[in-house]
């Protein structure tokens, strides 16, 4: 990675993190999603093809990563930008399953760093309350943005951009040392592939914990499963079937209400 590429990726890590300057809708929930993040990394590093090979599985793994009540389980922005970049830098010449394994490992490293930095910024933001209270006490409506946006963002930026540059710099330095694809033994690649494939179960399992509100909902989940395994529908076909079921369910409810 060139310095410019590292700066761009670190900048997007900051933008995609929770509470960045562009807002959570555009940042955390769009730029921070693995599907979008890997696409952006692909554009920056000039390898959209490889980026998307790992982007979709990473998105499945982290599909259940939501932030209920503001508790960040895993810093997705860090995880996927670092994960996709790791796959492109270190995965030259690997096949798809091995690439996904490499991306999963780097995403894990990135996610850990990200979670640490989130906790730090979360703590550093607390004194800003004193500042906000002073402006409020003065009735200064024109400066209420200072503690929230200016100071909050200064802390957020420092906590994301600088550690990201360090991690990316380390990756770049390591990648120039040797050709990793040929150095890594077969069994490590094989293990990473198995790990990557099984990690998807994490995203699905967590998502199920939000969705399985009643026991019998399990049958609906299995229905979606066998539509693929027995009926060989692709996911788009299943999504259409799912939409139809949702509409019918909603309509039956409204009809009952009218009657």
């Amino acid at each position: 990675m060139s310095v410019l590429q590292m700066i761009l990726i670190a900048l997007f890590i900051y933008l995609g993190s929770i509470g960045s300057i562009v807002g959570n809708t555009i940042g955390w929930y769009t730029l921070g999603r693995p599907l979008v993040a890997s696409f952006v990394v692909g554009l920056i590093l000039g390898d959209v093809q490889t980026a998307m090979v790992v982007g979709i599985p990473l998105q499945v793994m982290y599909l259940g990563n939501v932030t209920p009540g503001g508790a960040v389980a895993w810093d997705l922005s860090y995880a996927t930008y670092i994960g996709a970049a790791g796959a492109i830098v270190f995965g030259q010449g690997m096949d798809a399953t091995a690439l996904i394994g490499v991306a999963t490992v780097f995403a894990g490293i990135g996610g850990l760093v990200g979670q640490l930095m989130w906790n730090i910024s979360y703590a550093l933001n607390i004194p800003l309350n004193r500042m906000a209270a002073r402006y409020a006490e003065a009735g200064d409506t024109q400066h209420m943005f200072v503690p929230n946006v200016v100071m909050g963002q200064a802390i957020g930026f420092v906590c994301r951009f600088i550690p990201a540059m360090i991690v990316l710099g380390g990756m770049t330095a390591a990648s120039t040392q040797a050709d990793f694809a040929s150095l890594i033994p077969d069994y490590v690649i094989s293990c990473l592939s198995i790990f990557g494939g099984m990690m998807s179960a994490l995203g699905m399992g967590i998502l199920l914990s939000f969705l399985l509100k009643k026991q019998w909902y399990m049958a609906i989940f299995i229905a979606g499963f066998i539509l693929v395994t027995y009926f060989h529908l692709n996911t788009m076909g299943v999504a259409v079937v799912a939409a139809i079921v949702a509409i019918i369910y909603y309509q039956i409810g409204s009809d009952k209400e009218v009657a």
Binding site: Y29, T30, L128, N129, Q142, G197, L212, V238, V245
Partner: protein, 301 residues
């Protein structure tokens, strides 16, 4: 500015300008999470969002200070759906400025709004709508060119969310607390949530089948004699995974997913702990594969 007569109160009822409402919404939409912390959660962001409204409604420095102080206190919600809270509070401040509401009411309503709006936002919006939209975009990527999915998501999600968030803000301002209650009590919201959940479950089932992989690296390898040529070759004569697949395709990925669900939902394992367990499982499976010599032969077949 209305000329105030202390004896009869303001001559013209105060009204928040459309400009101030828009400004307030944008402050919230962009910067709701900027200074999140454990003490007041989104309090400072809420205070900033209310600043244009306060400026519009109150004239004296004391009144502005009192209003700002009540809005930098603890507040939390799922901010995108929670813009309805901002709308409701704007409406209440307007009523207060006209002398028909008290600061105590505003404060208690704000606190009361935290629970229901967070619940709806987290479960319906973040837990259901976003994963479904992401899934549809992943499908687009798989079915056509890879970059189309993220591109569609990057346009549809922010624009759609912004519009809905603004509609909810306006609904809160115009309909107030009654508007929100009637929406929640009508049963429509419940049905909509359940319909989305059913859709989500079917899609998650399909994703599980397509993406989760897990095999048992166990098989019996034996010499197979080719009847025609008499050549003896090594081959897998019994394969545990393909036997299981013959009886229920992808049974193992399904069981693994349900196991992770069980650990997360019922045993309260953290995602990090589950990740660790999966890594250990992957290492064990790899070790079995290599120690039995299955890997070498399986690669041939």
């Amino acid at each position: 500015m209305a000329i105030e007569n202390p004896a009869i109160g303001p001559a013209i009822p105060k009204k928040i300008s459309a400009e101030a409402l828009k400004k307030s919404f944008w402050n919230w939409f962009f910067w709701n999470g900027c200074s999140q912390q454990a003490e007041s959660m989104l309090g400072m962001a809420f205070g900033q969002a209310m600043a244009p409204i306060v400026d519009d409604l109150y004239d004296t420095r004391e009144d502005k200070a009192a209003a700002l102080k009540r809005h930098i206190s603890l507040f939390n919600t799922e901010a995108q759906v929670g813009s309805i809270c901002n709308g409701i509070v704007c409406g209440l401040e307007e009523t207060n400025a006209n002398g028909n509401c008290t600061p105590e009411v505003i404060e208690s309503v704000k606190v009361a709004l935290i629970g229901p709006t967070s619940a709806i936002g987290d479960s319906l919006w973040v837990g259901t709508i976003i994963p479904i939209l992401l899934t549809i975009c992943m499908t687009i990527s798989q079915a056509s060119v890879a970059w189309l999915g993220p591109l569609v998501y990057m346009v549809v999600y922010p624009v759609g969310t912004c519009l809905i968030s603004w509609k909810l803000f306006q609904l809160g301002y115009k309909g107030g607390l009654d508007g929100m209650q009637s929406m929640m009590a009508s049963g429509k919201l419940d049905r909509l949530t359940n319909a989305m959940v059913l859709m989500g479950l079917i899609v998650v089932g399909a994703l599980t089948a397509s993406f989760v992989s897990c095999t048992i690296p166990f098989g019996i390898i034996g010499d197979v004699v080719d009847a025609a040529t008499g050549e003896v070759t090594q081959a897998v004569i019994f394969n545990a995974s393909s036997m299981l697949d013959g009886f229920f395709p992808k049974l193992l990925p399904l069981l693994l997913t349900l196991f992770v669900y069980h650990l997360y939902a019922h045993k309260k394992w953290s995602p990090l702990a589950i990740m660790g367990l999966i890594l250990v499982l992957a290492i064990v499976l790899t070790a079995i594969q290599y120690s039995t010599g299955y890997a070498a032969v399986a690669a041939l077949v």
